[in-house]
């Protein structure tokens, strides 16, 4: 069976706020933050609607005492903020921090710096590479154990959580810091625009008339320890991770399979690992990007697993935008907040039911007993990941 896996610290920064309590307040008060891009100029006009973190790079550098002239990517700056909060909450000793395994995720790394430095000669080496972001974090927090950076596009940080879950469950490490960070940059704005996946309006997950996604940015990290160790250390357990699985569609480089084979498999395998039935799931925090393809496929997967008894479900991407590699970890934190506060967050902007889905997403903040929350994340390349969280108090 292995160790039980406890979450003992979380940290988050998103368009909803610069820490956990700000994010919680924005969710609780149904205050989404999707606005025209303001921190940098893109070549898309008018400025796209995005979920942008309010703090500028200048403010973030000041907070972390970096000289203003030091080149440091926004992806790293956002991650610093979230990791710091997670470490503080978990009360890790300096030794525990040094010995923690660190599994991070990003898709763009320091592309925000790199793309501004044409013809690429006046920049630090390796800014564009995802792994550099993790090295920066290790340097700052004095971590020197196993590390890696997972890059599976929009499921990246969900996969970093999956890996951390396995490492704790099978006793590979005492402490694992997992999560991900991605900053908005022209590379992704133009990329998703070229794929014609970006909506010019506020995104409408699971709505029949949805027109695409809003991009976002942010970071979220979780500290994972064995349940037993957390109890011995008298730590507050925020939630347990009881199942985590990944599968692949093997269908298309960017589109998900119409029969939702990968998405179905990942949920099925996560349920199996959690030793629970579909009926045990109380809420699903969906990937729900609001692209026609994603929501159609995810709806199929939900029907494949839950039949006509789909639990309460919603996508929180209309609050934050799609934060790409950070999305899985951000939504993991939202899942934990849902469990802690026994509340389902609304699927904003939903008006018209999808024709093939009999059940509608939850569209208002709903207080309800929650024991198990399922969180789905899907990435290009057919990558599908499902995580199952259990309330700590149960």
């Amino acid at each position: 069976m292995g160790n039980r896996v406890a979450v003992t610290g979380v940290g988050i920064i998103s368009s909803l706020g610069t820490n956990l309590s700000h994010n919680w307040l924005s969710l609780k008060n149904t205050s989404p933050k999707i606005q025209p891009l303001k921190h940098f100029k893109s070549n898309l006009e008018p400025a796209p609607l995005v979920g942008e973190v309010s703090l500028s790079n200048t403010q973030l550098k000041t907070e972390f005492k970096f000289p203003q002239n030091q080149e440091i990517s926004r992806t790293t700056l956002l991650a610093l903020k979230a990791v710091q909060e997670a470490l503080d909450m978990s009360n890790l000793t300096p030794y525990q921090t040094t010995q923690a395994a660190f599994i991070s995720a990003t898709s763009v790394g320091g592309m925000d710096i790199h793309e501004k430095s044409l013809p690429y000669l006046n920049t630090e080496v390796n800014f564009r590479y995802p792994g550099s972001n993790s090295f920066n974090l290790l340097d700052y927090f004095n971590i020197n154990n196993d590390l890696t950076t997972i890059c599976t596009a929009c499921s990246s940080s969900a996969n970093s959580i999956l890996m951390g879950y396995e490492y704790i469950k099978y006793n590979q490490f005492k402490t694992v810091i997992v999560g991900g960070s991605d900053a908005l940059c022209n590379f992704t704005l133009n990329g998703f625009n070229a794929l014609m996946l970006v909506s010019k309006e506020l995104c409408m997950p699971f709505d029949a008339n949805r027109t695409g996604l809003n991009l976002g940015e942010g970071a979220a990290y979780l500290v994972l320890e064995s349940y037993e160790d957390a109890i011995i250390q008298q730590k507050t357990i925020l939630a347990e991770i009881v199942g985590a699985a990944n599968a692949n569609d093997a269908y298309h480089p960017t589109a998900s399979a119409p029969n939702a084979e990968g998405a179905t498999l990942s949920i099925k395998n996560a349920l199996q690992l959690a030793h629970i039935n579909p009926s045990n799931i109380d809420y699903i925090n969906c990937h729900g990007t609001a692209t026609p393809n994603n929501d159609q496929t995810e709806a199929e997967a939900l029907k494949n697993i839950f039949g006509d008894k789909i639990p309460k479900f919603s996508s929180t991407k209309a609050f934050t935008g799609h934060c790409l590699a950070a999305a899985g970890a951000i939504e993991a934190v939202f899942s934990i907040l849902a469990l802690q506060n026994q509340v389902v967050f609304p699927n904003l902007n939903f008006k018209t039911p999808m024709p093939n889905l009999q059940q509608n997403p939850v569209s208002t903040l709903t207080h309800t007993p929650l024991q198990y929350v399922l969180s789905n994340s899907y990435g290009f390349g057919g990558n599908c990941t499902s995580l199952i969280f259990k309330a700590a108090h149960v």
């Binding site: 690429y120 792994g131 599976t152 396995e166 133009n190 390349g381």
Partner: protein
């Protein structure tokens, strides 16, 4: 805990030597600041429409996969990809496309989605029609090592029984230009220096790719056992040798037990001395020491090429003479243990121990 074995392997790099089993005749050195691979013949590998729409690195990865996924190969239960940069050329292409375009220009999305690091894994999954879990590890010069360690963990704990493991990176002119501007690359006037010991700073850039099937089942085709893989971003020990000795002791092994050492020497005189404590260790008098980056150059996942050479040596019990920097004093040494060690510019240290199965 299960033992971990290599069941199949393939590499894009061929070795110009009679002593090592030749693999694929597609390596070409242009004898300059970089070593570029000649592409294998991709004809017939992919349907024409898919072939046109994919990148060179993805074709290379699929080519390698195709070499080792045979009817008698173990059933693949996971796909793990190690790559520092993924399809870097596609990423550069997309950067240039939007940098040079007018506002709101309609761009081709192809280089964008191909540049996403797990496009390699996604295409392999499609090629093999495999729905199994797949992960892509991008940790700069520890990409190969961190991916290998996770794979090792999964197999050791029987979470999977076999894994298709692809380690691949491509040369990218933009990255080369940055590294050259920062004087990481060997000056063109120093190219003809002896590779080791080198008197000049900088390394030669390169690229490469390997595919392996790792399993926790011993079969007739098993090539070797992976005994351990360890890595550190920064060393707390005084030198590489101390790091290795400490890690080996966990397996009741000592340096003197090692028969073949593959050092990640890359001809940069500023950092090759990091290996001095290993190369000049009297404990290794009966071991043969090799370098391998004169064949493939330096790149994020270069140690995978050394890994491949080490596996070949274990399988064939032959050592490629031109890579030898120090010969064993033992008259007829049998190769039982192979040790690989690597670092990049004083950080990103790793070591791997391979063991003969005979």
């Amino acid at each position: 805990m299960s033992k971990i074995y290599i069941a199949e392997m393939a590499s894009l790099v061929s070795f110009h030597t009679n002593n090592i089993k030749k693999t694929r005749p597609h390596a070409a050195s242009d004898n300059s600041q970089k070593i570029i691979l000649k592409n294998p013949d991709f004809a017939g590998l992919l349907p024409a429409n898919l072939s046109r729409r994919t990148s060179t690195i993805i074709k290379r990865a699929i080519y390698l996969t195709n070499q080792i996924v045979k009817t008698n190969a173990p059933e693949i239960q996971a796909i793990h990809i190690a790559t520092g940069g993924g399809s870097q050329d596609e990423s550069t292409k997309f950067l240039e496309n939007f940098a040079q375009s007018l506002p709101n220009a309609i761009l081709s999305p192809q280089p964008f989605f191909l540049s996403i690091q797990n496009a390699i894994a996604g295409h392999i999954a499609m090629f093999l029609n495999l729905k199994v879990p797949n992960f892509t590890f991008c940790q700069n010069n520890l990409s190969f090592e961190s991916a290998l360690k996770y794979t090792f963990f999964k197999l050791q704990n029987n979470l999977i029984q076999s894994c298709l493991f692809v380690s691949i990176d491509e040369f990218n002119q933009e990255n080369f230009n940055i590294m050259n501007a920062h004087q990481f690359i060997k000056n063109i006037t120093d190219i003809n220096d002896t590779f080791y010991p080198s008197k000049s700073p900088g390394h030669i850039a390169g690229e490469g790719g390997e595919a392996y099937i790792l399993t926790n089942q011993l079969t007739q085709n098993t090539i070797a056992e992976i005994l351990t893989i360890e890595f550190k971003y920064k060393l707390t020990e005084i030198n590489i040798k101390d790091f290795i000795i400490k890690e080996l002791s966990k397996y009741q092994l000592a340096l003197k037990d090692m028969d073949l050492i593959l050092c990640g020497l890359n001809s940069d005189c500023l950092y090759d001395n990091m290996y001095d404590s290993v190369v000049h260790s009297p404990d290794l008098d009966n071991a043969t020491i090799l370098q391998y980056k004169s064949l493939c150059g330096e790149y994020f996942t270069a140690q995978s090429t050394g890994f491949y050479i080490g596996l070949n040596a274990l399988q064939t019990q032959m050592i490629p003479e031109e890579l030898v920097i120090k010969k064993s004093l033992s008259p007829n040494p049998k190769i039982n243990y192979v040790l690989l060690c690597n670092q990049f510019r004083g950080a990103e240290f790793s070591f791997i121990v391979l063991k003969s199965i005979t």
